[in-house]
Chain length 407, copies 2
């Protein structure tokens, strides 16, 4: 005997349509595997459908409308009414997480959101289940496929940012309006969600400093190659001094890092913990079919798991000032004593130079250096002083660096 | 209010002891996250403990004894008595899977075994849950850390097999008796388990042809490098002509393959499916603490999931003859017409040469070639004819190759 799981679908854009198709295609297989057949009980679009009626006639709600309202209202009401919710809405989760989890607890309903974070890469499930018994130390993630594609193209072809972006748009890897992707906000929302799961502590998007890739210049990539480094837009969530730091920045990675080989529109996440050392998961970022597949996986879980949203287990302080190594690119006048002055300012802030390359002559003269790790506040204080030096021909360019740890 | 989950532990070797320690260390965190505190209710070792009493006093059994008996008897009785079972026993699962799943269904108990397959890499969970809605086409896995370490060292240093094995033993990456690892049987058992999950069809270890790495020579690695290929002991499970092929062989991989960059004692698995394209997961292979962590993750799942072992959904025919590309290394007499004769024999079997390198002179003369894909039965028929040629100075060496697909 096979019972039914009635699914109410909110939203029928690219992902919603792909999900509806996949659901029909895979319903038999899921029924065979779980004893329950998922059926579409109603669809809400901007012009059609009635939310109340759909809620009444559904066991689970799949929210693929995106945006904050009315998605927030619908999801909250569904959870409170005891309907399980599967959503791909990262902005909603990263800005209203506490409220959503409280509603899920109130309605004894499941809230699942694998598709909100890293495309088909099942990092949410792995953090919630496989690593529920582990004490996570750090999560590194390439969680935005658009920017990873652009950076890969810039490194491969030497093209400037605008050109690589246009190419990404032609191939469908970037939206017509790519701002949330390229300015880092999309990745920051995803890291806020991941950090909450990995560390069991509330994290709001507003607590995640982020920076995008619009200012990356081809020669940054070129000089960095001389140091053996490759550039990624990297999300990091890690324990720092008993608290938690969550941040998203363009970062130069040493070649042996597990995320260094992740190229093109792929997503990948590395989870580090003493007990497991590290796990890395990678796969294509969000496209319609991939996201739909992640949503369907969540729906299968809704059928086979108990109604127990995981409670927060901790309340870590969010740390803002962390220690980082930096690549620093200075366009300077070609005159004696320039390096000495720069080194002195850095040194006074405790920032020491690991390696330096002097390039070009006259109006092309540059200092390109890699710094040892130092508190970011101190580094940026030094950078402000350096910016004021009159032999500087352009604003300094600084990019964080993760170098190999020799343990 | 926190209730208890009483855990009966069978076996207290390296992994059993690591698990007992980790359980105590993480019990508070798990209680906070799930509302249930896992406690050790009894331990069975070779000299101590009574299985009946432990079974009676436990809600779940963790089997870390290894071997077929008495592990099989204990696990079957536990499942039939409605006790959830977490095990790391790959031989048991790959040889008595049908019986175990039947017992789990009979007792309405969960059977979990993440630690049996790929160390901390959560491939079992991802296949069972995230990809439950996907139609998997192929699984590729590096599922034995010992052999991956040995092959990495051979490629890196040019050392012969025996030397790299001795090094692995010194570092604890290989057992004093490494035979099940190096002959491919360990990987074959893991692939049988993975194939059952990925394709929902019964697979027995006996249906998995396998080959080890003991015969790999340093010059195989050296010549292959000239073709841009790296060597892995690779498990493959894939749909072939409406059936399923599962096999484990040393394979040369092209450099861009997601598993090509997996080095040292690591495990990694790539799952391919149309809906998701591909997911790759990697992490350290089984060591005591890593395996214990995977077992603990399963125990957390036991507490939060419903009692629904997944039924088999299919009964695919196991296909033995598949199509493969090959690297072929022939030590030959240095005389005219040798290549022509070899090419003719291969051609008669439909095997065509993609690239060939002639090396050395006189007693050092060799033909090293890469073949286009051909049915393995035909290739080996040709190889038998070639072996009989009187200008051959040693047995031919053939290793499978996976080359980049240009789609």
């Amino acid at each position: 005997v096979t019972s039914e799981l009635r699914v109410g679908l909110l939203g029928r854009g690219t992902i919603g349509s792909a999900f509806a198709r996949l659901l029909e295609e895979r319903a038999d297989g899921i029924a065979a595997a779980t004893g329950r057949r998922p059926v579409l009980a109603g669809v809400l679009t901007r012009s059609e459908g009635d939310f109340e009626a759909i809620l009444e006639g559904s066991d689970a709600i799949v929210e693929l409308m995106g945006g904050l309202e009315p998605a927030r209202d619908h999801v909250l009401r569904a959870l409170r009414a005891g309907r399980h919710v599967v959503t791909a809405n990262k902005q909603l989760l990263s800005q209203h997480g506490d409220e959503l989890w409280a509603a899920a607890a109130e309605g004894r309903a499941q809230l699942r959101f694998e598709a909100a974070v890293a495309g088909v890469v099942p990092v949410v499930r792995v953090l919630q289940e496989s690593l529920a018994g582990a004490h996570v130390e750090r999560v590194h993630g390439i969680v935005n496929g658009t920017t990873n594609y652009i950076l890969t193209e810039m490194a491969r072809t030497g093209a400037p940012y605008e050109e690589a972006l246009a190419q990404a748009q032609r191939l469908g890897y970037a939206e017509p309006d790519p701002s949330e992707d390229v300015d880092g906000r999309d990745a920051a929302a995803k890291m806020a969600i991941l950090a909450r799961l990995a560390f069991g502590t509330p994290v709001h998007l507003d607590q995640v400093p982020y920076e995008g890739i619009e200012h990356i210049a081809p020669d940054d990539l070129e000089y960095a190659r001389e140091f053996g480094l490759g550039l990624k837009l990297l999300g990091t969530a890690e324990r720092v001094d008993g608290g938690l730091s969550v941040r998203v920045y363009p970062v130069f990675l040493y070649p042996g890092h597990p995320l260094a080989s992740v190229t093109g529109p792929f997503n990948a996440v590395t989870v580090e913990s003493e007990a497991i050392t590290e796990i890395t998961m990678s796969g294509p970022g969000a496209g319609g079919p991939q996201t739909a597949s992640a949503v369907l996986g969540d729906l299968v879980s809704v059928m086979t798991a108990q109604d127990s949203p995981r409670a927060l287990t901790d309340d870590l302080e969010i740390v803002q000032d962390v220690s980082s190594a930096f690549y620093l690119h200075l366009e300077v006048a070609d005159e004696p004593g320039v390096l000495a002055q720069v080194a002195q300012i850095l040194g006074l802030q405790g920032a020491s130079i690991k390696s330096v390359v002097q390039k070009g002559l006259g109006n092309e003269a540059r200092l390109v250096m890699v710094m040892h790790p130092v508190a970011e506040s101190k580094f940026f204080a030094a950078l402000e002083l350096i910016s004021a030096l009159d032999f500087l021909r352009a604003a300094p360019r600084a990019i964080r660096v993760i170098e190999e740890e020799f343990v």
